[in-house]
Structures are given as C-alpha cells and as structure tokens.
C-alpha cells in the first residue's frame, strides 16, 4: 500500500497515553472520532509533526516523516501537508490574500496543483481577498483557513475539528464546501471530530478512538454497524446509506433508491440521479416478522438478522441486519427481541421510521 498513510504513535504521559497503529487509505476523508481526551487531536498533531511521539512511525505514501527507530523526524515545515485548526487562526497582520499566499509563496510552483483564483472560487471567498481577517464572519474565516492550507501544496489535509468553534448556521454554511473538497480534489483528508453528524456526513473511513487507543478502524459503515463496540455513538447508533434520487412523486414525496430497496422522504430539490447520504438511526428502525399491513410507516425493507448485542440503554438490544449487502442497525427492547425470537439468520421486515438526510 504505497499510497496509504501509516501512523504509529506511542505517547506515555502521566495523565495521558496514546497507543495507535493506523493504516489509512490515501484517498477520501478519514474521520478520527472520539470523545475529548480520546487522543484524536494528539494523533493529528503527531501526524503534522507539531508533537513528537517518543515512539513513532509516520509515512505518507513513500515519504517517511517520522521513524524513531532510525531517529528520523521531519519537522513540520518540511512536510507537504495542510492543516486547519479549530479556530481559523488567520494571521491578523495579513489580508485574506496575504494569508492565502503565505504557504503558496513557500512552496515551489511545480508541486502546487491549485491556483489561488481556483481555490478562492472553490471555497466561495473570491470576493473577500482584499479584506482583513477581522472583517470576516467565523465561517468565512474558516473557509479562508482551508484555502490557505490547500494552497501550500499539501499531499494530505489535516483538519482538527474545523467546525467545532462555529454555530450551527456557520457549520451548515461550511459543510457543502467540505463535501466539494471531497468530490473535486483528489486529496486525502484526515478529519478529527467528536460530532457524529459531521462524521456520518463527510467520512468515508472511520477510526474510533477511546482512551488513546483505536478501538475500530475501517470503512464508515463497517465501523458504524459494529455492535460489539463500546457505545461511543451511544444514543446515536446508526448507519449511513448512500441513496440515489429516483423519483419526485406527486404527493410531495421523493423516492430514494439504494441497493437494498427504496425509501421515501419529504420532497427534495435535488434532481433525479443525485446521490444523497442518509443516516438511519438504530432507534428509528423497528422490526416485524410479517409485512406490516396497517401501518403509517411508509419505509419498509426486507432484512436478515446478522447478530444482536446488548446496548447501554437498559432493556434494549442492538440488532445488526443485512439489507442486500448493506448493514442496518435496529434498537429494540429485549422483550420484543425475545417475543419475536430474533436470532441470526432470521428474515424479517425492517420498518424505518425516520431518515436523516445529510446535505
């Protein structure tokens, strides 16, 4: 795996320990997810070289940035990376343009894939170039910070909770730009977050961190659908499906198709054919042995039980289902599970009470 990211860090401090060994894909968005204190930010800072793990190895593709066995440590300013911090941290003594050119001027033009006008356009800040950072809104500042990082010719973009300091409105303003980066740039992104919604919406790959250890690592849905993990997502257990807008129906509903069937949602403005990410919470899925006849729940798919496990919610179990190869989670009471004799291999109907469309 020459284009991937290898990151092995061990930090032992009195109050904090980190011990991870990660192999991350060299494409798409990888989310490092965990509670505060789980080590996700330390992990990112170690990747950036802002902190030096006493025992560590870190390589992007064929470029080795740290190998303590060889006593090799490339300082941050010699690493081809871009980093976006929680606060935009723009340089107040420079204009927006000055900020964006800061890294660009310090990289050779040969390695820089992006031009300033292109990036300004991509992030919707073309009209702000001559402003001072103090004149921008929080969301605009963060977009400038992202643009500034991209113009430094990074091979990887590191983002440390870039939305955490913003209110909901600003978050919603920035998310589409992040999705655009994802779609339009072939640049691996490592994204630290403690917000399940952001992860569900953006990530392709997920690393769950807990107390300095990676408890799970894999493609988003594979990790989300694991029911054996400590309940990091807790009440938010659920999976993400990628569905295609199939039809806008006459009664103000839009039909979305995914490999396991179709679901109806309130009318969407996206044209037919658009791919949408939807999140289905385990708590919004109920199970029935017979096709339910008289029910107000519209969305119902055929599913097979894969496994079940207890959850943190007293009296409830998590059921992992397979819907034509896609995972689906349902959270039901233990009593119902016993009554329906839910067991691996059982074919049943899963009723989806609610679908959260992301984006």
């Amino acid at each position: 795996m020459s284009d991937g990211i290898r990151a092995r860090f061990r930090v032992d401090r009195k109050d904090f320990a980190l011990d991870v060994d990660l192999s991350l894909p060299g494409r798409g968005i990888t989310a490092l997810f965990g509670h505060s204190g789980s080590g996700k930010t330390t992990c990112l800072r170690a990747l950036a070289g802002l902190e030096r793990a006493p025992q560590g190895y870190c390589a992007i593709g064929s470029e080795v940035w740290q190998d303590e066995a060889q006593n090799l440590f490339v300082p941050t300013h010699r690493r081809a990376l871009g980093m976006v911090f929680q606060e935009a941290s723009l340089f107040p003594h420079l204009s927006v343009r000055g900020n964006m050119e800061f890294g660009q001027k310090r990289t050779s033009t040969a390695t820089n894939r992006f031009s300033l006008p292109e990036i300004a356009e991509l992030l919707g800040i073309a009209t702000l170039l001559d402003r001072a950072p103090g004149e921008l809104s929080g969301g605009e500042r963060q977009r400038v910070a992202i643009a500034r990082a991209l113009l430094a010719a990074p091979q990887i973009l590191l983002m440390d909770e870039p939305l955490a300091a913003l209110d909901l409105k600003r978050k919603l303003e920035i998310l589409p730009y992040l999705e655009r980066l994802h779609r339009e740039l072939a640049l691996p992104i490592v994204y630290v977050s403690h917000a399940p919604d952001e992860v569900a919406r953006l990530a392709d790959h997920l690393v769950l961190l807990d107390q300095g250890r990676a408890v799970a690592c894999g493609p988003l849905n594979e990790v989300l659908a694991r029911i054996d993990l400590p309940a990091t997502f807790a009440d938010d257990a659920g999976i993400v499906i990628e569905a295609r807008v199939a039809e806008h129906e006459a009664d103000d509903l839009t039909r979305l198709e995914f490999p396991g069937g179709h679901i109806h949602v309130s009318r969407r403005h996206e044209p037919v054919g658009t791919l949408l990410r939807c999140r289905i919470h385990a708590r919004d899925v109920s199970l029935a042995l017979e096709p339910p006849m008289h029910t107000s729940i519209l969305n119902c798919v055929d599913a097979t039980v894969v496994d079940l496990a207890p959850t943190d919610t007293p009296g409830h179990v998590l059921v992992r289902l397979d819907v034509a190869g896609n995972p689906l989670l349902a959270r039901i009471t233990r009593r119902s599970a016993d009554k329906l004799a839910i067991r691996p291999g059982l074919a049943l109907r899963a009723q989806i009470k609610a679908v959260a469309l992301l984006g």
Binding site: A48, G49, L50, P75, T76, H77, R78, L81, G82, M83, F85, E87, S89, F91, P92, H93, F102, G103, R106, T107, R148, A149, A152, L158
Partner: protein, 224 residues
C-alpha cells in the same frame, strides 16, 4: 540656550538613539527566549534582566565601573584589544545605559511574544515556514506593539538617566555630559534660567512620549 546646552541635548539624543538600537538587537533574542523557554533558568535570567528596575543606579554604575576599570575583566579585555578603558568615554556610557534600560525594552517585547501564543507559529510551520522564517514573518509583525513600546520606553529611559551617567561617564562636555548632568551643573552654579530651559524641555519631552504611548497603544499601558 548656550552651545554647551545644545551640545548636551545633541549628546543625549545620540546616546539614546544608539542605546535604543542596541537594545532592540540585544533585547529581542532575550525577550524571545524568555517568552518561549521552559528552562529552569528562565526565572534567574528574568530576574537579572529586571534588576535595574529596583537597584539604585549607583550600585549598577559602581559594578560596571569596576568591571570596565583597569583591574576589571572587561577593562583588561578592552585594553588587550587596544581599545583603552571604557569608563568616561561615550562607548562606556552606551554599554552602561544598555544594561540600565534593558528591562524597559525586554519586558514589553517579551509580553508581546507571550501574547501571540503558540498557534500562529504552528500555523506558519504547517505553511512551510521554518522557525527563523516564522519569527520574522509572523512573530515580529504580531509583536509590533511590544517593539514600539520597548523602543519608546528604552529611548525615554535613557534620556532620563542620571546616576549611572555620573558614575560611568563623569561630566566631560561633548563626550559624556548629557542633559540631566548639565541641569545638575546649572543648578550647582545657581544658573536657574538655563536649568529651567533644559528641565522644562525634559518635562515636555517625557510627557509627549508617554502621551503618545498611552494614547496610541492602550494595551501596553500597564507596562509603562
């Protein structure tokens, strides 16, 4: 105003300018180190830099006189280099004044560096700036208010010194006789009119400097 008075004014401005430039050169690395170090020596170095704030100028002057004198280490060095002895010369006065005004330059700059924090320098590093580059392109521009305060305070404080000048420089017209000493001479000679001119000028100068500092740089008020 007599020509000796003008000479004293000119000498004072020359001394203060040279000392201010020297202080910025010497004080900046000290301020940077004090602002960023985690060394245990930080307390000791900070205290040494701050000593002139509390010591009577005569004490500092006395030790500098001994150090730069014919039997002191610095005196022996300058003599061995063929430079002669420093006491009662303009360079000697410059060195003494630099020590004396050091905290007035180091502390505002150090406070400015500390106020910047780690983040802008980390950002600069992720944008390919080496530490040296980041110092000049980020830390120095962001600490500009501290440099401004430091330079003004260093200049003004050098203009206002008396005791250390008397100890190290004596009272040689055109070489070490600065305004404060000239005023002393006038008063001793009961030339109150001339003393008024110079003393009033000092009051006005000091007021203008502090007024500028407090008006245009309110965040630094506590330092002055």
């Amino acid at each position: 105003m007599e020509s000796t008075d003008l000479g004293a004014v000119w000498l004072t401005l020359k001394l203060a300018s040279v000392v201010t430039i020297l202080l910025l050169i010497v004080g900046t690395p000290i301020a940077w180190w004090l602002a960023r170090t985690r060394s245990r020596l930080k307390g000791a170095v900070g205290a040494i830099v701050a000593l002139p704030l509390v010591l009577p100028p005569t004490v500092l002057g006395f030790y500098l006189l001994v150090t730069m004198g014919p039997n002191g280490p610095l005196g022996k060095l300058t003599e061995a280099l063929g430079l002669g002895l420093l006491p009662f010369t303009f360079p000697g006065l410059v060195i003494a004044s630099t020590f004396y005004s050091l905290p007035f330059v180091v502390q505002p700059i150090q406070n400015s560096f500390e106020a910047i924090g780690e983040r802008p320098l980390e950002v600069a590093a992720t944008l390919r700036a080496s530490p040296w580059d980041a110092f000049w392109s980020v830390a120095v521009p962001l600490a500009k208010p501290g440099f401004l305060s430091g330079a003004i305070l260093g200049f003004a404080h050098t203009v206002g010194e008396f005791g250390i000048v008397l100890m190290i420089g004596g009272n040689i017209p055109g070489v070490t006789r600065v305004v404060s000493v000239q005023i002393y001479d006038h008063v001793e000679a009961l030339e109150y009119a001339q003393a008024h001119w110079l003393a009033g000028g000092m009051v006005l100068f000091s007021f203008v400097v502090l007024f500028a500092l407090y008006t245009f740089n309110p965040a630094r008020r506590k330092l002055a």
